[in-house]
């Protein structure tokens, strides 16, 4: 059998490059001796044998052989370093805690707001915001709540000046948007609202509300129910039952309260739902034609629906938070719990 040609030898050595990254310590020293060994090493031998070749070929092969030698050396060193680290690590007690970083979390209420808005975005809603300080006109009268009507009593209002107040709901944005845009309108409006309620376990004077409004030709009670149902099934679970009950809001008619199956007991009745199996999550209904008239929209041409919900309450339901004040204290121990919450 003739001696392998120098070229073949180069290829054979190159093949060890793929083996090196997986080699165990014994094999690694074998390869080192086999390839790089000063006397019997294959590359050393190869380089020695180059003298017999023609000058052009010698130069070419010599360059290749030297490159390869460098590559093999590096690969061997890399593998060796890798094994050195592994050896040190295995000598350590890996049950010791790893190094952590501070992780921040979005406030649970805002997380819920984002989630709700994102679901409605799937239904083509835009996310908009509006002023927190409002006029009586936008907060009440344009929404078909005459100032001398008992419905005003449903809103304990903070006043800033004559006719100026802190909005008691996000509904003023219904009027502001309808005055500025031609239908089709599909919006969700998250924001802070104010009620003159003393702070207790379930009430706060400053809290989040989330409004929704749809205005277009041909929007009906069926579309309203379907839109809300879509939201509930995506926000809670797809088997969550939704219940629509008649109610009264001056700016919607027909009006509805929307209940969802209690998430704690799945509808069998518990202390959270006071045994009813349902939890109220929003007030809603078809936009009252008087509101359209007040905002310059023709009620004979357009219909629509609107809804409003309380993200604080929904947050409490979702995470089982017993006291609304926890959502205002900004206690690090409380917020830490939401770093990995979904």
């Amino acid at each position: 059998m003739s001696k392998p040609s120098a070229r073949d030898e180069l290829e054979a050595v190159a093949a060890t490059l793929t083996e090196i990254p997986h080699a165990d310590p014994n094999r690694l020293s074998e390869i080192r001796i086999d390839v790089l060994g000063r006397k019997a090493g294959r590359l050393s031998g190869l380089l020695r044998s180059l003298g017999t070749l023609a000058p052009d070929e010698r130069r070419e092969l010599g360059r290749q052989a030297n490159d390869l030698k460098k590559q093999v050396e590096e690969a061997l060193d890399r593998r060796q370093a890798q094994m050195d680290v592994a050896e040190t690590t295995s000598a350590q007690d890996l049950t010791m805690p790893g190094r952590t970083r501070w992780r921040g979390t979005i406030h649970p209420v805002n997380r819920v707001v984002d989630e709700i808005c994102d679901i409605f975005k799937e239904l083509g809603f835009s996310r908009v915001t509006g002023p927190e300080a409002e006029t009586e006109e936008y907060n009440f009268t344009k929404l078909n709540i005459p100032l001398d009507h008992p419905a005003v009593d449903m809103h304990d209002t903070f006043y800033l000046a004559d006719g100026h107040l802190l909005r008691t709901h996000t509904s003023p944005m219904q009027a502001r948007i309808m005055e500025h845009y031609e239908p089709p309108v599909r919006i969700v409006v998250p924001g802070v609202v104010y009620r003159r309620d003393a702070f207790d376990a379930s009430h706060a004077p400053v809290f989040e509300q989330l409004e929704g409004l749809v205005v277009d030709e041909g929007v009906t009670f069926v579309d309203f129910k379907a839109g809300i149902d879509y939201f509930v099934k995506h926000f809670f679970t797809k088997d969550t039952t939704v219940r629509f009950r008649p109610s009264f809001f001056p700016f919607t008619e027909p009006s509805a309260e929307v209940d969802v199956q209690c998430q704690m007991c799945r509808g069998s009745g518990c202390s959270t739902c006071k045994g009813t199996g349902f939890l109220e999550i929003m007030g809603a209904g078809m936009v009252h034609p008087a509101v359209f008239e007040n905002c310059g929209i023709d009620p004979e041409r357009y219909t629509g629906y609107a809804f409003g919900m309380g993200p604080h309450r929904i947050t409490m339901l979702r995470y089982g938070i017993p006291d609304i004040r926890l959502l205002y204290e900004n206690d690090m121990r409380f917020l830490d719990q939401y770093v990995s919450a979904t």
Partner: protein
């Protein structure tokens, strides 16, 4: 509103179940807030028969009774002198709990075992008689619950009534609503022992006389209708048991047979009425007139109240004797010795009542109903029934035909409904017959009118004035559940997303990435700054102003966390701050972000014994990072020991630095930043090609004399560094007693786009930099 289930059942002539009623009412729009069983505390007490009574062997005043509870005969010791064999008594078995909360235990009384207790009315809180046990006149089976045997097991429903439905503030209204869905008519119960009829009303336009009493409406805007009857020869006393029980079942205190009747009618038929002592009315006259400012009146609750114009007074010849629709006066109150009475039923302008109620800050059962609107047409029925009840319970005789002063009879306009409009709103085709069926069930009169339906709302539904009101009625009675839930295609919104919401979102992602938790603080707090907007009617002085910055709320959050012994605190908030403007304008609102940090920079790890605390350099970089992406375009300037962010117009828009607050000894210093948010995200930046030439780095250790800042040095380097200077950055600072000033080390990076630089390409630039530093700032190479 409290509703007695039994009362409701009588009106609908059927036995009702509380759970069923609650569900139906909820699905009609009047959810039941709570269900309370009357006399719940008596649940354990049963009817038992005393079979034998013997003298207690060791006590003269005690007896030993053999008591049959329906299943066994027990020995019971009794101290009541009236105990008798063969009589039934309320019996509390061992283990039962009596109204006072006492749990009955088995005990020996003077050596004799007593297996329960025979009860007095007082012990059961059923009356004042403590002299003896309560004999029962009942043939209920032994062992029957006492409340069942006595018919006291009524259930009280607290029905939530929305402000548009005054008609639901009485039992008949709730019964009508329920009757519409369960298909039963509403009928008023015959008054036990009543005459069956009363004298007919005499209509007058402005004034009339009844039994010597002159009745007149002067304030026709405040009082639309005034009915009055005079009954002579009444005897004031307690109401009959059935009536008392009815009132008690809804939590109404019983007063006497006259006042009780007005309360009964109000709770049954919704019309508040008032009874006067005829002999205490000067004149005698009753005039409804507008109040003149400054008049005073002692109301029934014993308070002297000042009248204001806009109120409607009921006056006798001497002056005010009642505030119309709100409360009667003390002077003409019905008392024990009253023999002749006037019964008034009137209709007052709801808006005027509301103003009166707000001005006097007194809400009464009457004002609550008048403000929402009572039935001006149906009030005559309520009046006749009240007169009949009075004649039955208090005796006496009607002096005359009662008067009905009704200057401008109210006509309730018809509402016209197109059946296709129903479909247009509800999305489902509902036949004309079906529409008419629902409306008729609720008491609306329907008639065809061209292709429409002419609907006459009943007097008790002042809320129904336009077609959409009827559409809601149809949907309600048909049931919201009956409408399908089908998602259909929709057209995209014409309204764009609010661009600032994206800025908010970006800031929140960045700051949570920095390890800060998002906080939410109240926007109401104490005054911070001159331009703070005040709230006119705050809940407390601590919450009188709208916030002018976010850091104050975050400081409060830090203090809360300190109070629960948290040392490591990292919070940020995105929210609106307010600045008061001229009175005619709403306060200016600005969206801001702020952050606060104190304590360890990193969570403690065993490999690093002492982690450093947050300091100024953290908040400076937070500010720079957030401002760069979410702030208005601008720059950070360090002046007068502060890190300030200016926009391009030179207005201060943010800061970073230490926060002044009393830090507990065990806590760390506090640092914060605050920044106005940009109104929209910046346009995406365009790509920069990656360098394909190597760079040359030069490190310069520079001696900075006192008063020379690194930004001054940086400016010189950048100006003199030449075209190849790519970047320069501080990488070290040294201060020590061995040097004057400080030594700051800079790394300058040079790179050419199109060639590989050699040292001699940049030596000139470095020399220029060093020369300029020395000349301009006195900065030398170390």
């Amino acid at each position: 509103m409290n509703v007695s289930l039994e009362w409701l059942g009588v009106l609908l002539d059927t036995k009702l179940d509380a759970g069923h009623v609650s569900h139906e009412l909820a699905m009609l729009g009047s959810p039941v807030e709570s269900v309370t069983r009357a006399n719940e505390g008596l649940d354990d007490v049963i009817v038992a028969l005393v079979e034998r009574v013997e003298q207690h062997p060791n006590a003269d005043r005690l007896s030993v009774c053999q008591v049959n509870n329906g299943s066994e005969v027990l020995e019971v010791v009794c101290g009541a002198p009236n105990v008798a064999a063969g009589v039934r008594y309320p019996f509390a078995p061992i283990g039962s709990v009596l109204p006072g909360g006492v749990k009955l235990k088995r005990s020996k009384i003077r050596g004799v075992q007593s297996n329960g207790m025979l009860c007095s009315a007082k012990e059961l809180e059923l009356g004042g008689d403590a002299d003896g046990i309560m004999p029962l006149d009942t043939d209920a089976a032994l062992g029957t619950k006492l409340v069942t045997a006595l018919g006291m097991d009524d259930v009280c429903l607290d029905v939530e009534v929305t402000p548009n439905r005054p008609d639901l503030l009485c039992h008949r209204g709730v019964a009508r609503e329920l009757g519409a869905v369960i298909g039963r008519p509403v009928k008023l119960q015959h008054i036990p022992g009543g005459p069956g009829e009363t004298k007919t009303l005499q209509r007058h336009d402005q004034s009339g006389t009844v039994g010597g009493l002159e009745v007149r409406i002067e304030d026709t805007d405040g009082c639309y209708r005034f009915l009055a009857a005079v009954i002579r020869g009444v005897r004031i006393g307690p109401s009959p048991d059935w009536l008392q029980r009815r009132l008690q079942s809804v939590g109404q205190r019983c007063i006497n047979n006259v006042v009780d009747v007005t309360n009964y009618i109000m709770r049954e038929m919704n019309h508040p009425m008032h009874a006067y002592d005829l002999d205490r009315l000067a004149g005698p006259t009753l005039i409804a007139r507008a109040a003149a400012g400054g008049e005073k009146l002692n109301t029934l609750d014993g308070v002297e109240r000042a009248m204001q114009s806009g109120m409607t007074m009921i006056c006798d010849a001497n002056g005010p004797t009642g505030i119309g629709g709100v409360m009667g006066g003390a002077s003409s109150e019905v008392r024990v010795d009253t023999t002749n009475i006037v019964l008034e039923a009137a209709f007052f302008n709801p808006k005027r009542i509301r103003k009166t109620r707000v001005a006097l800050q007194m809400s009464t059962d009457a004002s609550y109903r008048f403000e929402r609107g009572v039935d001006i047409q149906g009030m005559t029925d309520a009046f006749h029934r009240a007169v009949e009840l009075l004649l039955t319970t208090a005796g006496g005789e009607e002096a005359d035909n009662p008067v009905d002063i009704y200057p401008k009879p109210v006509r309730i306009p018809s509402v016209f409904l197109r059946p296709e409009q129903v479909q247009r709103v509800l999305g489902v085709e509902i036949g004309r017959d079906e529409i008419e069926k629902y409306l008729t069930a609720l008491g609306f009169a329907v008639a065809p009118k061209d292709d429409r339906i002419a609907v006459q709302p009943p007097g008790w539904r002042p809320d129904v004035t336009r077609d959409v009101d009827l559409i809601e009625e149809i949907a309600r009675v048909r049931g919201y559940d009956s409408f399908p839930t089908v998602l259909r295609p929709f057209r995209p919104s014409q309204v764009p997303h609010e661009p600032q919401e994206a800025v908010k979102g970006r800031a929140r992602v960045m700051l949570t990435g920095f390890g800060l938790h998002e906080a939410r603080s109240s926007s109401l707090g104490p005054q911070v700054g001159e331009d703070a907007q005040a709230v006119l009617n705050p809940l407390s002085m601590e919450e009188k102003f709208l916030r002018t910055d976010l850091i104050a709320g975050l400081v409060r959050a830090v203090q809360h966390n300190w109070s629960v012994k948290q040392r490591d605190i990292r919070l940020f908030e995105v929210g609106v701050v307010f600045a008061a403007q001229a009175a005619v304008r709403l306060p200016k609102e600005t969206l801001r972000v702020a952050g606060i940090v104190t304590g360890s920079q990193h969570p403690h790890h065993w490999s690093i014994p002492n982690s450093a605390d947050f300091d100024i350099w953290d908040v400076k970089s937070f500010l720079a990072g957030i401002a760069g992406e979410c702030g208005p375009p601008g720059r950070i300037v360090t002046d007068e020991g502060r890190v300030t962010y200016y926009d391009q117009g030179g207005t201060v828009r943010g800061w970073a630095g230490p926060v002044t607050v009393d830090v507990p000894a065990w806590a760390a210093p506090v640092f914060g930043f605050e920044l106005d948010l940009a109104t929209s995200l910046r346009a995406p930046r365009s790509h920069t090609d990656l360098p394909d030439q190597p760079a040359i780095e030069r490190d310069l250790a520079l001696m900075l004399p006192d008063g020379i800042s690194s930004s001054q040095v940086e400016a010189v380097i950048k100006k003199r560094g030449g075209g190849y200077l790519e970047s320069c950055a501080v990488f070290d600072e040294y201060r020590g007693t061995d040097i004057v000033g400080r030594s700051v080390a800079w790394r300058l990076v040079f790179r050419a786009r199109d060639k590989t630089l050699r040292d001699n390409d940049i030596d000139g630039a470095v020399d220029k930099v060093l020369r300029a530093l020395t000349e301009q700032l006195g900065v030398q190479r170390r």
